[in-house]
Symmetry: C2
Subunit: 542 residues, 2 copies
């Protein structure tokens, strides 16, 4: 099979030089000691799921594939390393010759497909490469996986939280019975332009419906949304600033008189009329610039009624401050007053966008509210609740000899060697357990009992009769040949949705979730513990 074509990384900063210097010094030390070409296996994984949860959604593989496929040091990179880095100034000139011709033609990669539900200890990406090259890929791959995985997980958690809205009471206005969707609004608060772009992309992967980020819309072909800001309202101070010779203006003034909404803010009303003239088909107004209930809501209704008369269907309102549950209910009740004669009022959206995070979503759900759309920014894009995923990249085998890393902390001990990971599913198509096997081991069989053990705790053992056995890692890269290319974002997003709906609810729940089991085969267990016994230092007491 020929190698597939793959684009260069989206961000040109992603290059062989986007790495820690110690990767290059280590490469030199290996080269100097003639070990740089020893075949090695590295695993990229995390130990603890983020946000106090028990699951994560793997993301970032697309850009990893692009980076690996295009990995090389440019002439100017080599010149910089040779001449401008004091630590490397005494390195043999030959080393730079070697570095200059490096590529990934000896690298093979297996990985979870983008968007796979994943857990602590499960390898996300497995890199088989000459020792020095595997090392040179480390930092960049971690950078390309840590934030996307964290962000996608954060987005998935927020969407789930938003959808835990109570919808049982059928006497409340229709907005109370609509399950909210989430939009990403965080570009301005993201950690750099690329953070903003990645946030938009991976929020969609995690289940967000759209983003305000226009560039993400263009490059990722996803839905973008946005109406106007406080500044737009503020830029109008009186009704004279909006054109009067339109159908809309006199109609709005007529309703204002009729409904006795005459004390609302004039500048705001002018802004809404101007906005309605520009966007009669997607009329959604920010209503809290002056006073949500005394001014913004009423001004919106005036323009919405006039647009309805003209045959347009207004979209809704946005709340950006105050008690969002209370205000949304007040607005929905007001819409309900009009709805008998104006059925479009039943379909109006109520968008809330003030400093939303998973915690406030859960709080909002504790009482009735009428929010139908959330706009989530800062807390989504910066992953405020936990701004970094602790992804690591570890050497597990070299020269076909498995490597173990010792640690006082048992959870930090590595599971050594080349391995396969299987997900075992039950007859209801729910995943039961992930199990790590040694490379050459026999797989568990459908319908047959199979013993899985906790890698470190000898007392934890389970017998599983799987109805389906899924090999988790897919070959991505085989000795330089690209085997898989990036999938359309929305396809991966649907995959994430399917996986989340299949996952055990106790693993996904917000409060006190149960850990999903990532166990090992009994052969792997024996191997790991024999290796441990043989190699771990024994403290001498005297």
């Amino acid at each position: 099979m020929a190698s597939l074509q793959v684009d260069a990384p989206t961000n040109p900063l992603v290059s062989a030089l986007l790495t820690d210097l110690y990767q290059i010094t280590m490469a030199y030390a290996h080269w100097k000691n003639k070990r740089h070409n020893e075949p090695a296996i590295f695993e990229l994984f995390f130990r603890k799921c983020p946000f106090g949860g028990e699951f994560a959604v793997f993301a970032g593989l697309d850009e990893c594939i692009k980076h690996i496929a295009h990995f090389s040091f440019s002439e100017s990179d080599i010149a910089y390393l040779r001449t401008s880095v004091p630590a490397l100034s005494k390195c043999d000139a030959e080393f730079f010759v070697w570095l200059a011709q490096l590529d990934t033609s000896e690298v093979s990669v297996r990985a979870l497909p983008e968007g796979t539900l994943c857990y602590g200890k499960l390898p996300l990406i497995i890199i088989e490469a000459p020792l020095a090259i595997g090392q040179l890929l480390e930092t960049t791959l971690l950078t390309l996986v840590n934030y996307p995985t964290l962000l996608t997980t954060n987005a998935a958690r927020m969407v789930r939280a938003a959808q835990r809205k109570q919808i049982h009471d059928t006497t409340l206005p229709p907005q109370c019975r609509k399950l909210p969707v989430c939009f990403e609004f965080g570009l301005r608060r993201a950690q750099g332009p690329d953070g903003g772009f990645s946030a938009s992309k991976y929020a969609l992967l995690g289940g967000f419906t759209g983003t305000s980020n226009v560039l993400a819309g263009k490059l990722c072909n996803v839905k973008i949304a946005g109406t106007h800001a406080h500044a737009f309202v503020q830029s109008y101070s009186c009704l004279e600033e909006v054109a009067h010779d339109t159908l809309l203006y006199p109609k709005v003034l007529q309703y204002r008189k009729q409904l006795r909404y005459e004390t609302t803010n004039d500048g705001e009303l002018a802004a809404f009329i101007a906005y309605g003239m520009a966007f009669p088909e997607s009329f959604l107004c920010l209503v809290d610039t002056y006073d949500t209930l005394q001014s913004g809501l009423l001004n919106f209704i005036l323009v919405a009624l006039a647009l309805d008369d003209a045959g347009y269907k207004p979209v809704g309102i946005r709340l950006d401050s105050g008690d969002l549950a209370f205000l949304s209910m007040e607005c929905a009740n007001k819409f309900a007053e009009f709805a008998r004669e104006r059925p479009f009022m039943n379909d109006l959206d109520i968008l809330a966008s003030n400093d939303i995070n998973e915690h406030t979503l859960n709080q909002l759900n504790s009482k009735p509210h009428a929010i139908t759309v959330y706009g989530i920014g800062t807390n989504l894009v910066t992953c405020q609740a936990q701004p970094a995923l602790g992804g690591v990249y570890k050497l597990v085998e070299i020269n076909k000899i498995p490597r173990i890393k010792f640690s006082q902390d048992i959870e930090k001990v590595l599971i050594p060697g080349r391995k396969r990971a299987l997900r075992l599913w039950d007859k209801n198509n729910k995943p039961i357990i992930d199990v790590l096997l040694q490379w050459e081991e026999q797989e568990p069989k459908v319908g047959e009992k199979y013993l899985c053990r906790h890698p470190f705790d000898s007392r934890e053992r389970v017998l599983v009769s799987p109805s389906r056995v899924e090999l988790l890692h897919v070959p991505i890269f085989d000795k330089g040949r690209v085997l898989v290319t990036p999938q359309p974002l929305m396809e991966v997003s649907r995959r994430v949705e399917l996986q989340l709906s299949a996952a055990p609810p106790e693993v996904l729940r917000a409060d006190h979730p149960e850990p999903y089991k990532v166990f090992v085969s009994s052969q792997m267990y024996r191997f790991l513990h024999e290796m441990w016994e043989e190699n771990a230092p024994i403290t001498e007491l005297s």
Copy 2:
């Protein structure tokens, strides 16, 4: 004066399209209502200093200049907006013609110089532009300022915390009396590759000494550092894996016997020998792979002694786990044992790098420690203590008429109109206060008393006799002409250092800092309050 040449933004993602959709919908609404060319003034500022502190360091201006200078919509951007964004599908075709020819030739910008100490309410950047263009710049400028300012401030706070080490006890080893420096090691945990790159750049601006990020080293011409990781140590399992036919190997073995360090880990010793052979002049070892005091420290000493014999000067050790204060003291004491005969041991660095943040730095300072270098990653680059700066961008004037934004929250009220900001300095060259004046007002004079008022609290007034009056905002961009180009990073970094050393200590301190005053002139105060009285809605009670 001709326009200066300025590069395109470092990250090609930074473009006119890297914005929120509502900026474009608002631009259309303004265009549709023929208000798009009304002259407007916007201010970019934050209200509250980050990290519970009372200062911030302004950064990000360089990339803002590049963005403004190169601002335009490409043909493919326009095609995307016209054909692929449902919200814009009904816009007049003329609008896109207008959008396609937009540039910033009518835009003027004043800003604080990069690296200026700044405070809540003080405008960082003041944009004078046609209304719609000013709006189209908002999101991108916020993205380009929020994270750099946050990161630079975080870095400056960390460097200050690191340097609060207690150094009075002269009986302790010399490492205890060395003021620590900080290195940035966070690339792998940053929020995207660009987050990583920005973090490295702005950490240096905030006072860090270097970074591990090689690309930042190349592009910003700053010091990069790094030695080896656990994986390097782990890749050796016995002494057979390192070349024996060198000067180093027999010498090390001889010391091992002589000093009776024979139970240290062989693989680790092999790795250190290999590393010493590769980098005899910059020998710094990570000593905690197996056991810091029983193995790593001793193995380091063996190789260091042999290198010293050969005329090289070993650099030091890195600690990446455990009780860093205790371990650093144990290591320094061990070095002191050798130092009488081996003076190089007095100069060895002890680098600590395990999950350092401002809080752990303060904790470490509460007891004696011998850390001379900090490697700071995750908590620096993600600004874990507060992952976003709340920078905002507000319309303060349109058509020469100042605009005010009302808010129940008095601190959210805008200071309206075109203005100048002055920093008043005392005779000891310490800043006393920043004061905002209306544009045409007379400046305070050196040696004369000048009344400054809190903008919102009528009871807070001070009389200041400045020894120096500094106009804070510098013209950056004048009707499309670039007046200032980016300065070398290390020059700006020195500027930050000077500003920090001049700033009032009570403003900078970590515990209960005092707010620095950003006040207004009495003319501005009267204007603001008259405008408020005239325009603020009065709640009717009945």
